[in-house]
């Protein structure tokens, strides 16, 4: 009896497995090779632009363009697993500009050197083009840029009698002065290295340098240490953000809190497109569960993070590249999509939506308001992360978040720098 029951159970399990196996069917074949998939990262590309791409692509090729949005947090893992696989790869993908060197070096993307003149050639943002090129051949090209600048509460700054700062030192002091128990003078998460590196860059430091043929992490460099000390002091004296917060949505803190009627931060640093989320909040007339923000120039303002001796501090050059997957079966159709993206019309649309267009000839589309001025000024001196082959692995490992979190948590900077230099150097060279 006992044995019989066991055999019965095994038979039932077998049947279940057979049924389950029957469920997985092969993906349908492409029809005519014209239906392609584009991966976009995060929600930065507005819906109007996505619709434009779909319509234009259908008109140009008769095929369907499917846009799949990937979350930035998991994008690296998804790209790593999907790109080599011809069955599952996106045909065209947006990719973080700092990851371009890594993926380009291993041959993930199609060589599009021939196509460059049609895409804009020398008018394309040079630092991004360089990040996506190997040995003079182009693989990944710029999609948009959007360096970060400061959004501040005009009302709070002027009530405290503080002018727009002209040096980094003055910025740090003013931010500390604006901190209260319920309000950050300057809201920055402890692990937020993408914004934190501005203080390193401003002091002449680097995250990594190339010695001969090998890359070495340079957190222990005296200039880097100086920047980290400033950042630690600023975080401790001015920010109430959690020490374990990395990339966040800081604009929710600068708007008036619905419950208290007061903001939780007098100052934030954010990419230019954050402007659409900042302002006086009112219920959305089309959807009562949401609110819309209307920019109020009396209450809010922007300025560029000042440098150590005045001028402009080099900030992280945010933005993306775009490339065709080498494993894609639809190479020609993918090139058609690139031509649409680099058309005058689409580049202009990018600019009008506050995204720095890849083709600098159309940078005028950004307009000449305070946002455009701040974007262009900050972009002029912005810097990319090291173009080391293993850089994407460094970002993926979370070591930078860990390091900045420990520094801002009050750790011993020199000891931490030595510890993480060793860990990061091990990954840098791929």
């Amino acid at each position: 009896m006992r044995k019989m029951r066991k055999i019965g159970a095994v038979a039932a399990a077998t049947a279940a497995l057979v049924v389950l196996a029957g469920c997985s069917t092969a993906a349908p074949e492409d029809e005519g090779g014209q239906d392609i998939t584009l991966w976009l990262m995060g929600g930065d590309t507005p819906d109007a632009l996505r619709d434009y791409l779909k319509t234009e692509y259908a008109d140009a090729t008769g095929g369907t363009l499917t846009i799949e949005e990937q979350d930035w947090a998991d994008a690296l893992a998804k790209l790593t697993t999907a790109l080599p696989d011809a069955e599952n790869t996106p045909d065209v993908t947006e990719i973080g500009n700092t990851w371009s060197p890594t993926f380009t070096t291993v041959g993930a993307f199609t060589d599009i050197t021939d196509l460059m003149p049609e895409l804009g050639g020398d008018d394309l943002l040079p630092s991004f083009v360089e990040a996506g090129a190997v040995d003079g051949a182009n693989y990944a090209v710029p999609y948009y840029f959007g360096s970060r600048y400061i959004f501040y509460r005009k009302d709070l700054w002027s009530a405290a009698g503080l002018p727009v700062p002209t040096t980094l030192e003055e910025f740090n002091t003013s931010a500390a002065a604006l901190r209260t128990d319920g309000q950050s003078g300057f809201y920055i998460g402890g692990e937020d290295w993408r914004n934190g590196i501005s203080w390193i860059f401003a002091n002449g430091g680097e995250l990594a340098v190339k010695n001969g043929d090998t890359w070495e992490s340079s957190l222990s460099d005296p200039s880097t240490i100086a920047g980290l000390q400033q950042l630690q002091a600023l975080y401790t004296s001015a920010s109430l953000a959690p020490v374990n917060e990395a990339d966040s949505t800081p604009w929710v803190n600068i708007n008036d809190n619905e419950a208290t009627g007061a903001p939780e931060a007098a100052t934030i640093i954010a990419p230019g497109w954050a402007r659409w989320s900042i302002g006086d909040l009112a219920p959305d007339p089309e959807d009562s569960t949401k609110t819309v923000a209307t920019w109020n120039p009396d209450k809010f303002g922007v300025f560029v993070l000042p440098g150590v001796d005045g001028g402009v501090a080099p900030v992280f050059a945010g933005g993306s590249n775009i490339a065709i997957s080498a494993a894609s079966k639809n190479q020609e159709a993918s090139k058609e999509l690139l031509k649409i993206i680099f058309s005058e019309e689409y580049q202009t649309m990018l600019g009008e939506n506050g995204l720095g267009p890849a083709n600098l000839q159309y940078a005028d589309a950004l307009g000449d308001d305070e946002f455009a001025t701040a974007l262009i000024d900050s972009a002029a001196d912005s810097k990319l992360t090291p173009a080391a082959p293993g850089w994407a692995a460094v970002e993926g490992s979370g070591l930078l978040e860990e390091f900045f979190g420990k520094v801002n948590g009050g750790g011993d900077i020199e000891a931490l720098a030595a510890e993480y230099d060793e860990k990061i150097t091990a990954l840098l060279n791929g």
Binding site: K3, I7, V10, A11, A13, T14, L17, V18, A21, A73, L76, A77, T80, T81, L83, P84, T102, F103, T105, V106, G107, A108, E191, P242, V243, N244, E245, A246, A392, A393, G396, S397, G398, L399, E401, E402, G405, L427, G430
Partner: protein
């Protein structure tokens, strides 16, 4: 007299299941063992040949104190979480045998709903509950006089982070334990229990002296499954990391392997850690398999 006639039918019936297991699990396992002996990075992922490096990946890992820290944390997490799950699960199962039919039905439906809830949906709600700014948990705790929990960040320290993770995992696994144990309890005959209580055994004595030994096979398999599941826990930790911090202090084995492999693109080392997890799982299961073999031999 029943003669032991060896029939081939049972073995033939086993063939499909074994074949599917070998195909479905053997292939990835073999691939994993091979990869763990190779230098396998992003370049190999994109088609470069992968050089064999012997046990280099294992040697490097063995010398890495962070790995042992993660192993220690994962074991502590899985033992504690599984133990709490068992206690609550068995408690609910006993409750089900003791209450009226209506109450039992309500309890069972509630447990079933919790069990059927997709992990991602449940996690989203849990993360909202524990939210630093607007979470219900902080709001309620803050209302207790003398407790200052406004803006308390549960995900900011590894200890409270793992506490939250443990609460969520317990919530998700209790229904399975409760139902399995309840099914076992229905097989315990009322006559035996009645006789015991006539002899003066208290409720506590009846449970430990009669019920627990009788449902021991159920308890041990459920505990083993809980230990294995809680050791391999991934989604819950990953989603909490997305809401809080993804830095190394918050890793358990699942997220550690994920980070090492898909994010840092060192598939060789990630495979080596996976093999280690397999070894731990086998070690955990060993006592159970041994007792199963003994029972069969008897």
């Amino acid at each position: 007299m029943h003669t032991m006639r060896r029939s081939r039918v049972p073995y033939l019936l086993l063939v499909p299941a074994v074949a599917i297991l070998l195909l479905g699990m053997g292939y990835p396992l073999i691939w994993q063992i091979i990869t763990s002996l190779q230098e396998y990075g992003l370049a190999q992922q994109f088609g470069q040949p992968a050089p064999f490096v012997g046990v280099d990946n294992y040697v490097t890992l063995a010398a890495n104190p962070q790995l042992w820290l993660v192993v220690g944390k994962s074991l502590a997490f899985c033992v504690l979480t599984a133990a709490i799950t068992m206690v609550i699960g068995v408690g609910l199962a006993l409750l089900m045998t003791g209450v009226t039919k209506t109450a039992r039905l309500i309890l069972q439906i509630a447990l079933l709903l919790a069990w059927a809830m997709p992990v991602v949906a449940a996690m989203t709600i849990w993360i909202w509950l524990f939210d630093r700014r607007r979470g219900v948990i902080n709001y309620l705790l803050d209302m207790i006089p003398g407790v200052e929990m406004n803006r308390f960040d549960w995900l900011a320290s590894p200890v409270t982070f793992l506490l939250v993770a443990s609460i969520i995992v317990v919530w998700m696994s209790v229904p399975f334990v409760a139902f399995s144990v309840y099914a076992g309890l229905t097989q315990v005959s009322d006559e035996v229990l009645e006789a015991a209580s006539l002899d003066g055994a208290s409720g506590w004595q009846r449970f430990w002296g009669i019920v627990a030994p009788m449902i021991r096979p159920v308890l041990s398999i459920v505990l083993l499954l809980q230990l294995i599941w809680d050791l391999r826990v991934f989604t819950q930790i990953k989603m909490l990391q997305d809401a809080g911090s993804a830095s190394g202090d918050y890793d358990l084995l699942g997220t550690y392997i994920y980070k090492l492999g898909t994010s840092s693109q060192d598939f060789g080392a990630a495979s080596a850690v996976s093999i280690l997890v397999l070894a731990i799982t086998v070690a955990l299961s060993w006592f159970y398999i041994r007792s199963l073999l003994r029972e069969d031999a008897a």
